[in-house]
Assembly symmetry: C2
Homo-oligomer: 262 residues x 2
């Protein structure tokens, strides 16, 4: 195994009170930031760093685990540790639910993805009636049971979003909303046909680390947070007619809103 090119990474400062594994992480992080290691490029192997710094393997692994936690690098078993490429992001504009878009038939997701030149997919469709959680019930105005529509969105084969829509049974039962395919314009178009003219939406946004289940369904790398968006749709009578709970891979999204200054 050949030694590291000199100058690529510095030396440790034994007088520093900064832990060795942090110093190593700092140096690697800086090298990445400066572009000495480019996106997708392989970092020196654990063994090489052990030799270079003269520390034990666990110490090097500790350094890597810091960088992984920051979402800067990812390890591939049998291959090495690589600089994580920043994937191109998808923008969700705040007017994506405007009526004019709805009238064109295709879903917002498909339209946006096509425009960006990506290949969109929707899978794990599940539509069923279930008991409302306390939170959903409160948002929908004290309903006990709801129709839940679950689906996962993929872009070029990569899962990017998992969403569940909840609708009061008295609205959705027996309509096309309860079918796997809600038809052109999606459930919002159906709701309007049913006489629930939409007035406005409320969106709540949080960011947090994913649960293990979310890591699995969204195939998230370590160090990638999720954006949790809860949208409530209100009709012109002020009634909440739908709650949509969406969990997005944060590295795949930029949300974009336009607000009046009035």
């Amino acid at each position: 195994m050949s030694p590291l090119p000199s100058g690529l990474l510095g030396d440790l400062d034994p007088t520093s009170d900064r832990a060795v594994f942090r110093q190593i992480a700092d140096q690697l992080r800086e090298a990445i930031d400066r572009g000495r290691f480019k996106e997708g490029e392989k970092l020196p192997s654990e063994a090489e760093l052990v030799d270079h710094y003269g520390v034990s393997r666990m110490t090097v692994r500790n350094s890597f685990s810091i960088l992984q936690g920051e979402g800067l690098v990812h390890a591939e078993h049998g291959k090495g540790v690589f600089v994580r490429p920043r994937p191109p992001v998808r923008r969700l504009a705040s007017d994506r639910f405007a009526r004019r878009h709805r009238e064109q038939g295709k879903s917002a997701f498909i339209v946006e993805a096509d425009a960006a030149g990506s290949h969109p997919q929707v899978d794990s469709l599940e539509v069923k009636e279930e008991k409302a959680t306390q939170d959903i019930s409160a948002r929908l105005g004290s309903v006990r049971r709801v129709l839940a529509r679950r689906r996962r969105y993929l872009l070029d084969g990569r899962p990017v979003e998992f969403a569940t829509s909840y609708l009061p049974l008295d609205i959705a039962r027996g309509t096309q909303i309860a079918e796997p395919n809600p038809g052109p314009g999606g459930i919002y178009a159906r709701l309007e046909e049913l006489g629930h003219r939409l007035d406005h939406f409320e969106e709540e946004i949080r960011a947090r680390m994913p649960s293990p289940a979310e890591v699995k369904t969204l195939r998230l790398a370590s160090g990638v947070p999720v954006i949790h968006l809860i949208r409530t749709a209100f009709d012109t009578e002020g009634r909440a007619v739908e709650v949509c709970d969406t969990v997005m891979a944060a590295d795949a999204y930029v949300l974009s809103y336009q607000l009046p200054a009035t």
Copy 2:
């Protein structure tokens, strides 16, 4: 050292192909989720878990480090590992920049915090002219130099947000906007007085893991992402008159938007 109460945590499954440290993390996570360990409560010490499961200390520490990465627990040197309390969150409504709020004098942050019964603070105020980054320049319409206003917001002593406003020099230089205290209603009120009647705002939202510098200024615990919000203010002539770059501790915020269905 007394053994763990039986039944609190289960046993390992040696036949499972799930790594031991992951099984331990799973059991602890489940116990937390079920409320067997409450917010702020101390988990069993590393030594107790070593005894309970019959594994080495590094294995237990690995488990803890998973949970730390998920933001579920935090360790305190000399004391133990504790379930992280979910701090009360600050809600940011999308109409917080409405003109009617601006006319009352106090800044939005102070008003909201007072209403919530918390003690708000603003510090590390810095106002200076500087060279615009490429991104800021593009957003402001190709300006070279800008006025930058930096400040950090704290709630009950805890830093929750770090924000920088950028304004074109031809607008801000020599005005009260260039003073540390921009006066009642903040810089938006001053901008309108200067003839830049505000028309609308654009907000871009991302979530990601913090840089080490952000961890420091916001005193972030491990496993807490940041929300990165970039707001651009446009006047009625369509000119971008301000860009505000905000980094928020994600565990302290819920953003809330209201969108018309038109």
